[in-house]
Each structure stands twice: as structure tokens, then as C-alpha cells.
């Protein structure tokens, strides 16, 4: 009987032994929990890096938000198989469009990341974390939040303004959509906060003081505050660190050219897949969309396009957009702010302020760089039209065209989109279902 008992106890042994290693206690190895996320300088810096990474998402500056800006207008047309992109091309969006909901949600997750930093960074207890670093990180977060709300406002109109980070699903209850004016006011407030926190250095991949000025100039352009638009444009134009490059292709071929104010950098491990939607199958892409015939002839016409013809490439008889082309290395930048835009903002602001010669001077700076002849329109009307056309070519594949035509209320005349309800995107149906505080844009 002794052996029997011995073996019994041997068999029962694992019970006790294994309980002590406790199969029920596991910690995630790929993630950290909320309370580990913000403890010192390194984790605060990581959170900011993550917020920039959110800007790069496919649904945001990585592709789809930019595509919303060009597909709805007349520079780029849909030629692929995803009919949710076709809806943009045809200006026939429905509220269940997955690209619309993807972009909406990607922008708000960027905002939540920024909100964490804004709320927490100043109180991080780490002796190695200097006040100036804390200020810089918080300032960059304010800038990113400003950019995110600006992008929401110009695409959807007024949106819910969430200024604190999310703790539970009940947060934000009762916060409905603000008006467009309130949303732009929030953008301005965030930019002003950022101005006081950010250093005056040149870094083309992160937010600095002059990045804030540049976005502020664009904001004033959208809100038609011409004097401020001109003033803030000037602040950037006059800065030594930013110049128009010669020829146009320089800023495409070289990353972080002096032309660039803010571009999102990618690398082999953190790849930009935007090119795959422009390139044809023979170059590894899917040609989901391509430049319109009209755009192709405009950029190829030396009188209008000049040396901007590099925007269109050709392979095996297929013409394609060639701004994003680094399919092998995957490190095409996403262009957010370039100095050329600031010239054209100031040109437009000056035209509205009836400084026609100053306006023409700025316009011609961009034209000269592109290798086309200077022009000197005699009326404000002609000048504004010339600026509109110049912007069309200068930013042909950069997602400005649609927002420009909506901003100037020209989308009906130029694109034939006469239904003004179609000038803003629908609030995603899925979010309308999930959020009782949301109200759909009219017409959807």
C-alpha cells in the first residue's frame, strides 16, 4: 500500500506545484496598460512620437484624407475597383462610405493621443525632464490637435470638440457638434497655445514655431481674415529656413528640401503606401486613380505647367500620377505645408486687400519657379482666378483642390457640384448610430 500512496501523491503533486506558477496571471508583452503609459520623459516622448504616427495613418495623411481632397475635384479620377472611392469622384457620397468613416475615426484618435499629452505632460515627475522639453512636447501636441480639428472642420463643417483624453465610454456624453466658427476658433486657440510653447527652430518633420505660423496663415485664409493671413504668411516667407526650390521637381526628388515647412517622414520599416494607388500594375501599384486628361494636358503644357510636368509619369502607355513613387523603399513623404502655399496664401490675401501688385508678385514667385511666364492681371477678379488655377497645378496631387473650391464657393461653377449639401462630407452612419449627440449634415 505504500507504493500506491506514493504514486498517488506523485500524481496529485502537479496540482499544487502548478497553482503556484499561476497560469492565470499574464501580462501583455506587446502593450502597456494605461497607468504605465505616462511615467517619465521617455514615455512622454514616445507618446508624442505615437501622435505623429497617427497623423501618418492610411486613413489620414498616409492616403485617404489627402485623396478626399483631390478625388472630389477635377485633378484626379477614379480608375480602380474600390467603388467607395468612386463615390468621391462622382460626388455621390453616402453616409456609409468606409473611407469617410475611416478618416473621421483616424483624426479623432489622433486628437485623443494629443489630448493625453496636453493633459499629462506638465505633471510628469521625472527630474531628467526639463521644463523646456515639457513645453515643446505640449506645444507639438497642441499643433497636432489644431491641425486635426482644422482638417475635420474643412471636410465636415463644425464637429464635436473634445479637449480631454478618454477614460471611459461615457466620456464626451452630451458634447455635440460645434459650429464651423467655433471649430475654427478652437484651432486658433490651440495654435496660439502652441506658439507660446514651441521653439523657433527649423525642423521639417515636427511642429515648430514657424509650422504654427504656416498653419495659422492657412486658417486665416479659410476664415477670410486677409490681413492676418498675409501677416502670418510673411512671417514664414521671411524666415531664412524656407525657400522655393528650383526646379519644381527638387522638392519631390529630395526629402526635407528647403521648400518644405512640414512633411511627414516615412522609412522602410514605417512605409507610406500612397504610391500604390497611383502607380500602375506594371510598377507594382493598382492605379486606383489617375490624373484627369485635363490635368495631364495642363501640366504638360509649357505655358501652364512648366516644369511641373514631372507630376505625370508614363509606363507601358499608361499615364499615372507621379508625386508618390518610392514603391521599393516606401519612404515617400506626406506633404502637409510647403512654402509655395504660403506665397499663394499671401497672394490671395493681398488680392482681397486690393494690393494687386503685391499679390501678383507672390503669384509670380511661384510661377517663375515652375518655369512659366509671369502674369499681371489687371483686376482683382482675374487675379483671384489666376491664383485658383495656379493652386490647382502647384498642388495638383496634394489634396487642396476640393477644399479650395469649396472655400471660395466655386465648387458649383467649376465642378458642377451645385448641391451645396455635397460640399461637406456626411457624418459616418456608424458614428451617428453610436453617438446620440451627433447630427447629420443636411442632404445625407
Amino acid at each position: 500500500m505504500k507504493t500506491r500512496k506514493l504514486i498517488t501523491s506523485l500524481l496529485l503533486l502537479p496540482l499544487t506545484v502548478l497553482w503556484s506558477c499561476d497560469v492565470l496571471d499574464h501580462n501583455p508583452e506587446l502593450n502597456i496598460t494605461d497607468d504605465q503609459a505616462f511615467v517619465n520623459r521617455a514615455s512622454a516622448e514616445a507618446a508624442l512620437t505615437g501622435t505623429y504616427s497617427r497623423l501618418q495613418a492610411n486613413n489620414y495623411y498616409g492616403r485617404n484624407y489627402v485623396a478626399i481632397g483631390y478625388l472630389q475635384a477635377d485633378n484626379v479620377e477614379w480608375s480602380g475597383s474600390f467603388n467607395f472611392f468612386q463615390q468621391f469622384d462622382a460626388n455621390q457620397l453616402t453616409a456609409d462610405n468606409s473611407t469617410v468613416s475611416g478618416a473621421w475615426s483616424a483624426i479623432y484618435s489622433t486628437i485623443n493621443s494629443a489630448n493625453h499629452i496636453i493633459a499629462k505632460v506638465q505633471s510628469v515627475d521625472d527630474p531628467a525632464f526639463s521644463q523646456s522639453e515639457k513645453d515643446r512636447i505640449q506645444g507639438e501636441a497642441y499643433f497636432i490637435r489644431a491641425l486635426a480639428y482644422f482638417d475635420l472642420a474643412r471636410a465636415w463643417g463644425g464637429v464635436p470638440l473634445i479637449l480631454d483624453y478618454t477614460r471611459s465610454p461615457e466620456d464626451g456624453a452630451g458634447i455635440g457638434r460645434s459650429s464651423l466658427q467655433e471649430t475654427y476658433a478652437r484651432v486658433l486657440a490651440d495654435l496660439q497655445l502652441a506658439e507660446n510653447l514651441l521653439p523657433d527652430v527649423v525642423n521639417r518633420n515636427r511642429a515648430t514655431l514657424h509650422t504654427v505660423y504656416a498653419l495659422r496663415a492657412r486658417l486665416h485664409l479659410y476664415t477670410e481674415e486677409w490681413e492676418q493671413a498675409a501677416e502670418y504668411s510673411s512671417r514664414v516667407i521671411e524666415h531664412q529656413g524656407y525657400e522655393l526650390v528650383q526646379p519644381y521637381s527638387e522638392f519631390i526628388q529630395n526629402k526635407n528640401s528647403i521648400e518644405s515647412i512640414f512633411e511627414l517622414a516615412y522609412d522602410n520599416a514605417n512605409r507610406n503606401g500612397h504610391n500604390g494607388y497611383f502607380l500602375p500594375a506594371s510598377l507594382g501599384g493598382r492605379l486606383e486613380w489617375r490624373p484627369t486628361e485635363e490635368l495631364i494636358s495642363l501640366v504638360r503644357d509649357p505655358e501652364t505647367g512648366g516644369n511641373r510636368d514631372v507630376l505625370v509619369g508614363e509606363a507601358n502607355g499608361v499615364t499615372f500620377g507621379n508625386l508618390y513613387f518610392r514603391s521599393s523603399t516606401g519612404d515617400d513623404p506626406a506633404y502637409v505645408l510647403r512654402i509655395a502655399e504660403l506665397y499663394l496664401i499671401r497672394s490671395e490675401a493681398r488680392a482681397h486687400l486690393n494690393d494687386l501688385s503685391g499679390s501678383a508678385e507672390d503669384l509670380n514667385a511661384v510661377r517663375t519657379r515652375a518655369g512659366v511666364a509671369e502674369i499681371n492681371p489687371s483686376t482683382q477678379q482675374e487675379l483671384l482666378l489666376a491664383i485658383e488655377n495656379e493652386r490647382r497645378l502647384e498642388f495638383a496631387l496634394e489634396g487642396h483642390r476640393w477644399f479650395d473650391l469649396v472655400r471660395t464657393e466655386r465648387a458649383g461653377d467649376v465642378l458642377g457640384v451645385t448641391d451645396r449639401n455635397r460640399w461637406v462630407l456626411p457624418i459616418p452612419l456608424s458614428d451617428l448610430n453610436a453617438d446620440p449627440d451627433l447630427v447629420q449634415n443636411e442632404g445625407y
Binding site: 464635436p160 483624453y165 456608424s430
Partner: protein, 1003 residues
């Protein structure tokens, strides 16, 4: 009350008292009690010495040991349903006792998880399939073999690709987010059937159950209701499939079995597209209908600047390049036998299968070792171990433009296959199909799987035994790809990837089993046990880009390399017990209870409790029916219980998490990725089942009827949260779902003479699934084809309903649900779903002298399929020039008065842009699943050549299908990789039609 308590006390102490009467002049007798006809061990047989209180019961293999006095004794073996036998034992110490069935009752032993039971004494619903019922279908995996054989078990193969995904559903789907696959137990080891390959295959999956060699299988028992599955607690809600593999029998000489077969498969139907001139003609029509002028139509004479007239367009056939008559071959070899104390089974198989669509293939090389040994009079040990290696060459298809089928069927036929310089021509988003077939010789998945269980069983007291199981399930999967520069995905200089995935789980179990009989009338079995399990997942992957040339395929030769690795772990700890009491072989009571704790949930919600109870009344055992010869068995049973589900959520779903890897400027970044929910807990399903078993006419006719209802609460759900919070969803226990159904099966011996036998088995089941509560609808798949919404069933299609094509204008008229005069998303509605109204199978088997013939049909009725091939290829012109047309497009409206449901060709309006129900089709089918004809040579002939048996056979699979579905195969699903999407057909490999010739012999 006193009587009950004293009775319970008696039960508990009865074996102990008998043990205590042992005196010094005693000896041990051990032995096995088996069924005289089938030879299997009988569990729970009462072994006693008449006139004394000494006695014991046999364990689940029929083994017993008993201490008896030195002198000659008489042993009595009694077992309900069998004739009692008495044996005089003089000086033997080991016995083999065969018991014969009483009243010619066929006693089937059913594996009920941790124990075995006779079928008549079940209180729950379990379908059993033995090896000889399984047709010799050349299937790669065991789950596919169940098709049409078990009532209430729906099996569909999602693709005809070898080793591809199989959909198995036991009594409907209970979960939206968590998985709906049943739990698979192989020889006591709960095995993983999660996807191990990381390859993006356009929606296809790789079936992990193909790691098991189907010919090793002895029987498959499918536990369907809560009373049967509650013993598996937290993982029992979707049913449990218990697979038992072959073992040796004691005191049997070695038997060598060898089988080989060769098979040829081909596609029963092939894709068809319009010819080059038809495509051109349709494109011209689009141009005119869009308001374009006749002079500027795209296909006008070259002299006028066009692409040539339609009738001048060539037609290049791509589709024939895709398909092949695919050979496959299979060898299996096993040896089984046993001595008094040792039993063994050693087996292996080698099989190769090629795909009917090039260039896919599947191969398996597996071995199995099952071994049991009685060490001494109280200890036995054993193992069930299998190792297998699978190799797959996979071609992408389904939902990817770089798939081989897509590249052949979507490209307009007038486009040449090669460029003028001889290189592969590519169009639009599509690759070149020949390049995919010829240049992708490295798209391999290699799997290595080890499933092993080692046990020791100890008889502590007579009737009381303790078993300890130690098991591992180890799966290693290596994906290796090289995309050459000839392919779109290999641009610009070649892309290679290697991904290694490792699933590892260990399980330790202790099970205490107690069997006792008190007198002739009381029969009690109880088990108590615990389980610990830890599951880990590791993956590392490497990508290399830019190769010096296509001859270099290893990442080491590339210039740009990136790598990553990830992993996760979870644990499960459980206690369980099961008590089964039988009174007079008439009244049966069953109680089950399991407590499970999972590391996936917060500490406060870690434990889940899963009770179940069942009763059965064998009316045929009552005096008033005993003498009715007509009725052999009549049993009513009822049970109720609770089971759970925790699969499908990630291992840390309850925590608020930040994720790394969100990098920028080559610096590591973190972002919030998941909102925490400390209240997260199991899904729980409450289920009741009522069953009737009837056998009449000397067992010639048997039928079984079950009615059940399952109600799942606290569905693990990714509940959408307002996006303004920066998250899309939070995992919560929200929502409820019900499944109600009825299952009927019938087994009939139509003719049974010595020369000719004919049996029929038939089963049919109906399950009604309803999402009873869901906070907001959830959509799935790229264009939201599938929508889950309160009040509807799972797998519902969300579409615009096309009422007609206006005979005057040729435009589609859609139903304006809200009557606002325009067609908006508010008019999109649910129209049908992918679940069948009923399904089942009918199996006829004939034998005449040495010939046997088996005919198995299976059917599904009322299931819908959304034909995405039609959605994309009857596009009315919106993809003109980049995607061609199906011949169905030719039925379009052309002139006023035309009555058709294919609208006018145009890119304007919404004729072709809306996801409409035009392409939603009834996919009901009746299929001749298998037809087999075999001949077993007469015994004297085979013995003269030194064999024990020899059978040659022919087997045909999928020889005939009756369906109105217009696609190639009504059974497929192209979106297997997206959870809870069914019934989508897009460029899928159809299930092959196969003829097979084989030989089985033994000696």
C-alpha cells in the same frame, strides 16, 4: 430524508467496506470485460463474489482488479443491458470475460468527454460517427468528413483549394465577436484550430485540422447540448467534437493494415466570360447610353482613331490556363495489437494532393503512436501521440486583385496575355495569371504539429481511480514567400517574406472516477477533476525587398530588410464534476458542473460557473412495455445547462492598453489602442434539449428526435463607441442571441438477409438564429455586405432591393423603404441570409456478397449567396475596359419594352453602383457527396495469399449537384478569414469533382 441520507452514505462507503473485508490469505485477480460482439471494453461492469460483500466495477476500458480469497471462488459479472455471467476462478490471476448483450440490444459506447457511456443511458444529445460510416473521401481534414452525417452539424467547405477552410457549426452560431467553431478534443487533448498562417490569401484560410490523419480516426462523437458540453464549461457553447483515434486491443495478434489510393479531381464548372467582341460591343453601348456620340465610340475603326470594330477584337482564353485535372495519392500503414498488459497502435500516412486551380498543392506526412500498458495491479500508463508535417503551396484567390483566378477572369478577353516583347502583360489592378502560375514557385506554408497525451491511471480503491493527463499541442508554421519581379507584388525588385508562427499549449488534468453498483438496481458513476492549461502564441516575421535577381529568393540576399516579432499568452484553470445515476436501467439522472477561470478577464470576473443536469426515462424498460416485442427502445430525455465562450477576444481585452510600434522618425512611439473594461466576462449560453429515441421492429428502424433552444447572453461584442473619443469600439458583454432548432435522424435496415443488406440513414435539422438584442448594427466585409442587426439572424445580407428594371427607361428601380423619393442609405435593407432553413444528409449503403455500395447525399435549403463575381462583372460599364463581363450582362435592357432584371448599360445613375439584391441568389443544393463501390475478396481467397482482408474500391466525390445557383459552387465562401461572414462568392476555387481508386488490405 433519513433514508436518502443513509442511502448516500451507503453509496459512499460501500466500496470502502468491501475493501476492508480483505484478509491476509488473499490474491489479486485482474482482467478485462469486453463486449462479446464488438470486442470493446465495457466500463462499469459489476464484478462480485456472490454471497459476500466483495466486489468492484470495471474502469472505462473494461479493466478490473479484485482481491479474492486463496481458494476457488465464483465471480459474477453483471452489467445492465447484458446477460449476467458467472465464472469459477481457480488459480488464474488474469481473466478475459466476454459479456453478451441481453435482448439483442445493440449497446453503443459513446465518448462523452471525460468518460464513456452506453448510448441508451445518455440524457443528452450526442451524434456519433464510427470509422466505418465515414466514406473514403479524399479529404484533407477530419471535419470535412462529417458533412451530411450528423444531424444539426452543418459542414461546408469554403473553397476547393486542398487543405482549405471548412465551416463547421453545431446547432447554430452563438457569438458575434467570439468564435463559433466547436471545441475539438483529440484523445482527450483540446486542440487549437486557430489560423496559424499569416499569409494574406484574399480571404482564404488554412485549415489546422488538416494536420490530423483522417485514417487514424476510430470514432467522432459530437456533443451538442449543454448537458453534454457543460463538462467543457467555458468552451462548450458551440458544441464539442470528440475525436478518438485507433488503439490496439488486448490479447490480439498484430494486425497490419495498408491502404493506398489514387485520385483525380477536376472542376465541375468553370468560369465563363464574354468574348473580346462582345466586351467591345458592350463598351460601345455604354458610351452611347452615356450620351456619347456614335462617332466617338471607343471601338471604332482604327482608321478613325479607335481601337478597331468590336468584330475585329481577338479573344484570348485565360480561364483554361487556370484549371487542371489534379492528381492526388495517399498511402497509409498501421500496425495494431496487444498482449495481456500492453496494447499499441502505430500508424502513419503520406498524402499529396494537387489543386484543381494551379499552382496549389497540399501534402501531409504523419505518424501516430498510441500505447497502453498495465504496469501492475493498480497502475496503468499510456500515450496518444501524433506528429505531422504538412506542406502547402498556395495560390491567392478570392478577394485580391493579385489572385490567380481574378487575374484570369476579370481581364477583358481582347487584351493579349503577353506584351509584344514577350513579357507578361498586366492590366489595371490585375496581375498576369500565367505569371502567377509560373513565377510564384515560392509561396509555401510548412506546418509541423505535435499533439501528445501521456497518462497514468491509478486504482486507489476498487471502483475508484485517479487519472492524470499531461498533454501538449504544439504547432509550428512557417510561411515563406517570394514575389518575383514578374509579379505586381514583387515590384520593383522582388519582395520576400518569412514568417514563423508557433502555437504552444500545455494541459494538465487530474480526474478522479468512481463507479459503483449497489445491487442490481443502482448504478452510479462520478468524476471530479481539474484542468490547467496555458496557451502561448509567438510570431516572428522578416521581409526583404530589392533582390539582385529573381534567382535569389532568400531574404539574406535583399538590400532592404525589416523584421518584427510578437507574442501573447493566456491561461485557463478549471474544476469539473459529473455524476450519473441509473436506477433499474430505467431512470437516469445526470449532473454536471464546471468552474473555469480565464486570464483574459479581470480578476473580479475571472471565474465562470457552468452547471447542467439531465434526466432520461427509458419507457421501454418499464414492465408495461417490456413485453411489447414491437418496441425495442423508447426513451425520453430532457436536459438543461449553461455553457460559455471566451474565444475570439484578445488575451488582454479587459485592460486599457497602449500599443508600441507606432513609430515616427525612427523613434519608437506609443498610442492608446484599447479602452479598458474591467467588467468583461464570459458569454453564457443557456440551453435546453428534449429528446426522443425510438427503436422498433427488432432494431430495424431507429429514430431520434431532438428539440432545443439556446439563448446566449452577455455577448462578447466590440460595441461601437462615439468616434470622438478616439476609439472605434470597446469590448463589452452586450447583446443576446438565440438559436432554436429541431433535429431528426432515422436509421433503417431496409433489407437484411445473409446475402443482401441495405441500410438507410437520414438526418435533417433546422436551426433558427436570431440576434435578440444588439445596441447598434454591426457591418462586415469591405462593402458592408453582411450586417448584424437586432431582430435578424447572423450572416444577413445588407443590400438595396431592386424591384424591377423599368421596361421603358431600362433603369433599375430600387425600393424606397422610407418613401422619401430618393434612394439613400436609409433604403438599404436586410434581404435574406446565408444560413440554410434546413440541412442534412441521406446515406444509403448496400452490400451483396462481397460488394458494397455507398451513396451519400447532403443538402442545404434556403441559404443565400451573394455572388460577387456578378457584382463586379455585371457592372454595366462602370469598370469598362478594366474588368470584363459575365455572359449574364448580355441580358441587359436594350430598348423600350425589354423585360429583364439587368439594367441598361451606363456609368451614370445608380443602376450599377449600389450593392443590390440583384446578385443575391438562392444557393440551396442537393449534392451527391460521395458514391463508393467496393469489393471485399472472399476470406478463403485472401487467406490463400496470406492476407486477412483485401478490399478494392472506387469512390466518386461531388459527382452531381442540383442547384439554381448561377456561380460555380453554392457551398463556398470567399471571406473565410473575416469572422462571421458567410455566403460570399468571389473568385473561389469550386469544390472539386473527384474519382478515386483504392486498395485496403490487412494481414
Amino acid at each position: 430524508m433519513y433514508k436518502i441520507i443513509s442511502f448516500i452514505l451507503f453509496l459512499i462507503f460501500h466500496p470502502t467496506t468491501s475493501f476492508a473485508t480483505n484478509n491476509e490469505q488473499s490474491r489479486q485477480v485482474t482482467g478485462t470485460v469486453t463486449d462479446s460482439r464488438e470486442g470493446f471494453g465495457l466500463p462499469g461492469v459489476n464484478v462480485s463474489i456472490p454471497g459476500t460483500s466483495s466486489g468492484t466495477v470495471t474502469d472505462h476500458d473494461g479493466f478490473f482488479e479484485l482481491t479474492v480469497p486463496e481458494e476457488t471462488v465464483v465471480l459474477r459479472f453483471s452489467y445492465i443491458g447484458y446477460q449476467t455471467k458467472e465464472l469459477t476462478v481457480t488459480d488464474q490471476t488474469t481473466l478475459t470475460v466476454e459479456l453478451s448483450e441481453d435482448l439483442q440490444r445493440l449497446s453503443e459506447i459513446v465518448v462523452t468527454g471525460y468518460t464513456t457511456q452506453r448510448r441508451e443511458t445518455l440524457t443528452s444529445s450526442i451524434s456519433s460517427i464510427s470509422a466505418d460510416q465515414i466514406p473514403d473521401i479524399p479529404a484533407a481534414s477530419a471535419d470535412q468528413l462529417l458533412q451530411g452525417l450528423a444531424s444539426g452539424v452543418q459542414v461546408s467547405s469554403s473553397s476547393g483549394a486542398p487543405g482549405g477552410g471548412i465551416f463547421v457549426s453545431v446547432r447554430g452560431s452563438t457569438s458575434i465577436n467570439a468564435g463559433n467553431d466547436p471545441l475539438y478534443i483529440v484523445d482527450g487533448v483540446p486542440i487549437s484550430n486557430t489560423q496559424t498562417s499569416s499569409l494574406a490569401l484574399g480571404g482564404q484560410v488554412v485549415n489546422p485540422l488538416a494536420d490530423l490523419n483522417p485514417s487514424d480516426i476510430e470514432s467522432i462523437d459530437i456533443l451538442k447540448d449543454a448537458n453534454a458540453t457543460a463538462i467543457y464549461g467555458a468552451r462548450g457553447a458551440n458544441g464539442v467534437v470528440v475525436i478518438t483515434t485507433r488503439r490496439g486491443q488486448p490479447n490480439t495478434p498484430s494486425l497490419v493494415r495498408f491502404g493506398t489510393s489514387v485520385a483525380y479531381s477536376w472542376a465541375p464548372n468553370k468560369f465563363e466570360v464574354v468574348t473580346g467582341d462582345q466586351d467591345a460591343m458592350l463598351q460601345n453601348e455604354v458610351h452611347i447610353n452615356n450620351g456619347g456620340s456614335f462617332e466617338s465610340r471607343p471601338f471604332r475603326p482604327v482608321s478613325e482613331g479607335g481601337r478597331g470594330l468590336p468584330e475585329d477584337q481577338p479573344t484570348y482564353d485565360r480561364i483554361s490556363d487556370l484549371f487542371q485535372v489534379a492528381p492526388s495519392r495517399n498511402y497509409e500503414l498501421s500496425v495494431a495489437g496487444g498482449s495481456e498488459n500492453t496494447r499499441y497502435f502505430i500508424g502513419g500516412d503520406l498524402s499529396d494532393q494537387e489543386g484543381i486551380v494551379k499552382p496549389a498543392s497540399f501534402g501531409r506526412f504523419s505518424g501516430r503512436f498510441n500505447f497502453d500498458h498495465i504496469v501492475n495491479d493498480f497502475l496503468s500508463i499510456g500515450t496518444s501521440t501524433t506528429v505531422s508535417r504538412t506542406t502547402r503551396n498556395i495560390s491567392r484567390s478570392n478577394d485580391t486583385a493579385q489572385g490567380v483566378i481574378n487575374s484570369a477572369i476579370f481581364v477583358p478577353a481582347y487584351q493579349p496575355i503577353f506584351n509584344e516583347d514577350g513579357s507578361y502583360a498586366k492590366y489595371g489592378i490585375f496581375d498576369n495569371h500565367l505569371a502567377l502560375i509560373n513565377e510564384r514557385d515560392r509561396y509555401n506554408v510548412t506546418g509541423l504539429r505535435l499533439i501528445s497525451n501521456v497518462y497514468a491511471e491509478l486504482e486507489i480503491l476498487p471502483g475508484l481511480s485517479l487519472r492524470s493527463n499531461w498533454s501538449v499541442d504544439y504547432g509550428d508554421n512557417l510561411d515563406e514567400t517570394y514575389n518575383s519581379t514578374q509579379l505586381v507584388s514583387g515590384q520593383p525588385q522582388g519582395v520576400a517574406n518569412t514568417t514563423n508562427t508557433r502555437n504552444y499549449s500545455w494541459i494538465n488534468e487530474q480526474i478522479l472516477t468512481w463507479r459503483t453498483n449497489i445491487g442490481e438496481n443502482h448504478n452510479l458513476t462520478g468524476i471530479i477533476g481539474n484542468t490547467l492549461q496555458e496557451i502561448s502564441f509567438e510570431r516572428s516575421s522578416l521581409t526583404g525587398r530589392n533582390f539582385p535577381g529573381d534567382d535569389f529568393r532568400r531574404i539574406a540576399s535583399s538590400s532592404l530588410q525589416t523584421g518584427s516579432s510578437s507574442g501573447t499568452k493566456s491561461g485557463l484553470a478549471s474544476f469539473f464534476t459529473n455524476w450519473n445515476y441509473i436506477y433499474k436501467d430505467r431512470y437516469i439522472f445526470d449532473v454536471n458542473f464546471r468552474a473555469d477561470a480565464s486570464s483574459r478577464f479581470g480578476a473580479d470576473n475571472r471565474w465562470g460557473y457552468f452547471p447542467a443536469a439531465g434526466i432520461a426515462w427509458r419507457i421501454s424498460q418499464e414492465e408495461f412495455l417490456r413485453n411489447v416485442d414491437f418496441i425495442n427502445e423508447l426513451k425520453l430525455s430532457a436536459n438543461i445547462g449553461i455553457t460559455g465562450n471566451q474565444s475570439g477576444i484578445n488575451d488582454f481585452a479587459s485592460l486599457g492598453l497602449w500599443s508600441g510600434g507606432n513609430n515616427y522618425l525612427e523613434a519608437p512611439g506609443t498610442t492608446p489602442v484599447q479602452m479598458g473594461n474591467p467588467n468583461l466576462r464570459w458569454e453564457t449560453t443557456t440551453q435546453w434539449d428534449v429528446g426522443l429515441d425510438l427503436a422498433v421492429l427488432n432494431e430495424r428502424l431507429g429514430l431520434e428526435l431532438n428539440v432545443y433552444s439556446k439563448y446566449t447572453e452577455g455577448l462578447l461584442l466590440n460595441v461601437p463607441v462615439p468616434n470622438k473619443l478616439g476609439f472605434d469600439f470597446i469590448t463589452q458583454n452586450e447583446g443576446e442571441m438565440s438559436n432554436r432548432g429541431i433535429e431528426f435522424s432515422l436509421n433503417s435496415t431496409n433489407i437484411s438477409s445473409t446475402r443482401f443488406q441495405w441500410t438507410t440513414s437520414f438526418n435533417i435539422a433546422r436551426n433558427v438564429n436570431i440576434i435578440e438584442r444588439l445596441p447598434s448594427p454591426i457591418t462586415r466585409h469591405s462593402r458592408d455586405w453582411i450586417r448584424m442587426e437586432e431582430g435578424y439572424s447572423m450572416y444577413s445580407f445588407w443590400v438595396y432591393r431592386q424591384l424591377e428594371v423599368d421596361p421603358q427607361t431600362g433603369d433599375a428601380i430600387y425600393e424606397d423603404v422610407n418613401g422619401d423619393g430618393q434612394i439613400t442609405v436609409a433604403d438599404r435593407q436586410i434581404a435574406g441570409n446565408a444560413l440554410p432553413d434546413f440541412f442534412g444528409g441521406i446515406n444509403n449503403r448496400f452490400s451483396y456478397l462481397g460488394f458494397d455500395l455507398g451513396v451519400l447525399f447532403n443538402f442545404e435549403y434556403g441559404n443565400k449567396v451573394y455572388n460577387l463575381n456578378r457584382f463586379f462583372m455585371e457592372h454595366g460599364g462602370i469598370y469598362s475596359g478594366s474588368i470584363t463581363f459575365l455572359p449574364g450582362q448580355l441580358d441587359r435592357w436594350q430598348q423600350p419594352g425589354d423585360i429583364t432584371d439587368i439594367p441598361r448599360m451606363t456609368t451614370q445613375g445608380n443602376n450599377y453602383t449600389l450593392p443590390s439584391d440583384r446578385n443575391l441568389e438562392d444557393a440551396s443544393f442537393l449534392r451527391l457527396r460521395s458514391l463508393s463501390l467496393g469489393y471485399t475478396l472472399p476470406l478463403n481467397v485472401v487467406q490463400s495469399i496470406g492476407l486477412q482482408s483485401l478490399r478494392v474500391y472506387f469512390q466518386g466525390t461531388n459527382l452531381w449537384t442540383l442547384t439554381r445557383y448561377s456561380g460555380l459552387d453554392p457551398e463556398v465562401n470567399s471571406a473565410d478569414s473575416i469572422s462571421n461572414v458567410r455566403g460570399i462568392d468571389q473568385a473561389v476555387v469550386p469544390n472539386p469533382r473527384t474519382v478515386q481508386f483504392g486498395v485496403n488490405l490487412s494481414f
